[in-house]
């Protein structure tokens, strides 16, 4: 007999006003391998994210965390189970849920500013307001001097900053991040983590952020709550709440303590997998 895995996370305390911002219930996702076999990537995952919360979904590569994010973004359909936004089933992508992908995914034919202006255009921002908003957001991520350059002329870190500006310029309710800083060097990553923390704090509980990561320190630095996933087939094994004040830094004692706590959880999981 195994212990009851805490797959169902009780969030009654957060359910004070209306439905949760994001809700995943009994989610199962399968994936076709290169040899044509269907494998379970996500195994009956259930969790909720409250409005204004910053949650990190943490797990090893291949644990299906990106699959969950893609379903919440409306880019993929689940095999079974439900994904809801504001209590309504998610039927497709939409500008209410901005996504930061692993790669910046800027449009290479548009200048950095024009990328942001296109995002604004697609949500119906009047043409005369777009350039100013784009400028403001570029200044926000420290790229005001690079408005007119093409994305390929920027460094990878700067491109991801531009992608962050493009994602947030339309004032989305939700920002979904799919390991957006995974391919950056340590310095660029820290800069962007600070940036993300800052914009989340600035939005004072209006913006809900859900980031997927395999980086324990990143999760501990950014999140109010870390959902720890097992290796494939991915399911939730633990929930860690982090109440350290913001803005946080990796040197904070509380953050460091959370990091070692999560490490311990992951090590236990590895032991469970290898020998008994």
């Amino acid at each position: 007999m195994s212990e009851a895995a805490p797959n169902v996370v009780d969030l009654a305390s957060l359910r004070s006003a209306g439905p949760p911002k994001l809700e995943v219930r009994d989610l199962v996702q399968t994936r076709i391998t290169t040899s044509g076999q269907s494998v379970t990537a996500v195994d009956h995952v259930t969790f909720e994210v409250a409005t204004g919360e910053f949650v990190c979904l943490l797990g090893p590569s291949g644990c299906g965390k990106t699959s969950i994010l893609n379903i919440l973004a409306g880019l993929d359909r689940p095999f079974s189970g439900e994904a809801r936004l504001d209590g309504h089933p998610i039927s497709g992508p939409g500008p209410d849920r901005a996504v930061l992908f692993q790669e910046p995914a800027l449009f290479p034919w548009l200048s950095v500013a024009a990328n942001i202006e296109l995002a604004l255009k697609l949500v119906g921002t009047p043409a005369d307001r777009r350039p100013e908003l784009a400028r403001t957001w570029l200044a926000n991520v420290g790229l005001e001097r690079f408005a007119t350059v093409q994305p390929h002329e920027l460094s990878e870190g700067m491109r991801q900053r531009a992608a962050l500006a493009r994602a947030l310029a339309t004032d989305p309710d939700v920002l979904l991040g799919d390991e957006p800083f995974g391919s950056l060097d340590a310095q660029a990553r820290e800069l962007l983590q600070d940036e993300v923390q800052r914009v989340w704090v600035e939005r004072e509980g209006r913006a809900t952020f859900l980031f997927v990561t395999h980086n324990v320190r990143e999760a501990a630095l950014l999140a109010d709550r870390v959902l720890v996933m097992s290796a494939a087939p991915g399911h939730l094994i633990e929930e860690v709440r982090i109440s350290a004040p913001r803005p946080r830094s990796l040197d904070d004692v509380l953050v460091a303590r959370v990091v070692s706590e999560i490490h311990e959880i992951l090590m236990r999981e590895v032991d469970k997998g290898t020998g008994r």
Binding site: G74, G92, P93, G94, P95, V99, P108, L122, R166
Partner: protein, 256 residues
């Protein structure tokens, strides 16, 4: 100065070498069927002076502009339609590929039967020669749009026609431009073949001149030279430049 030489130098050396070899062969063989470059040049000047070459060139270019524009329009529409719809792609693609493989000259007899020895037959053969490659280029350009850009567009709220206009069409532009360049080559070849063979009463064009001047070797070679120069000039000055421009803007050009 150095840059200009880097660009023009090597091809210039090639052209000069060909002319030199030609002059040498003409001098050694000394037959009427291989006139020297100087003789051909003066035949060209005669043709320009008496107005036959300018008139034929103009007529040919007008015909070409019309047929090429139609080929591009048909190719872009059919290609995009195939990219949009799986069934359309699987049913239409083999036919387009078959047309692409079929030598365009094979269409000449049937074109004459359908349209007579007319302007329309010439335009028909040109379109049939050029539009399949435009269609296939458009199809692959649209299908090769990186999925991540479509996903990004979708999360930003682009869907349907908006997705096409704002994401897919601009993302497909480099492949589309490559298709234009290729279709230009096919259109030019098909038009010359059609003009050469279909000689409508009173019609003129560079291909027609080739038939009319077949007894006068220097004039024949002068017209051939004009055909080569126009083909290369348009390819280089229009399509090569456009291609470089599009790719440079996106950082797809490897050399600086």
């Amino acid at each position: 100065m150095r840059r200009a030489w880097d660009e023009v130098g090597p091809p210039l050396v090639g052209v000069v070498a060909v002319v030199l070899i030609w002059a040498l062969v003409a001098a050694v063989t000394d037959t009427a069927s291989i006139p020297s470059p100087a003789v051909v040049w003066s035949a060209f000047l005669d043709g320009v002076r008496d107005g036959t070459i300018p008139e034929a060139t103009l007529k040919t270019l007008i015909r070409l502009a019309f047929a090429f524009a139609l080929s591009i329009a048909i190719g872009a529409l059919v290609g995009a339609g195939m990219a949009l719809n799986e069934f359309a792609r699987r049913s239409v693609r083999p036919i387009i590929v078959a047309m692409q493989i079929t030598p365009f000259v094979a269409w000449l007899p049937i074109a004459v039967i359908w349209f007579g020895a007319t302007e329309r037959a010439v335009v028909f053969v040109t379109i049939v020669g050029a539009f399949p490659s435009m269609t296939l280029a458009t199809l692959s350009a649209v299908r090769q749009v990186p999925p991540i850009l479509k996903r990004a567009g979708a999360t930003m709220g682009a869907r349907g026609w908006t997705m096409y206009r704002e994401v897919i069409v601009p993302a497909a532009m480099p492949g589309f431009v490559a298709g234009l360049q290729q279709a230009w080559g096919f259109a030019w070849k098909a038009l010359m073949a059609a003009e050469l063979i279909i000689t409508a009463a009173g019609a003129t064009g560079l291909g027609h001149l080739l038939t009319e001047e077949s007894a006068d070797v220097p004039a024949l070679l002068a017209v051939l030279g004009v055909i080569v120069v126009i083909g290369v000039a348009v390819d280089y000055l229009v399509f090569h430049r456009l291609d470089r421009h599009v790719r440079k803007r996106r950082g797809l050009l490897v050399e600086g």
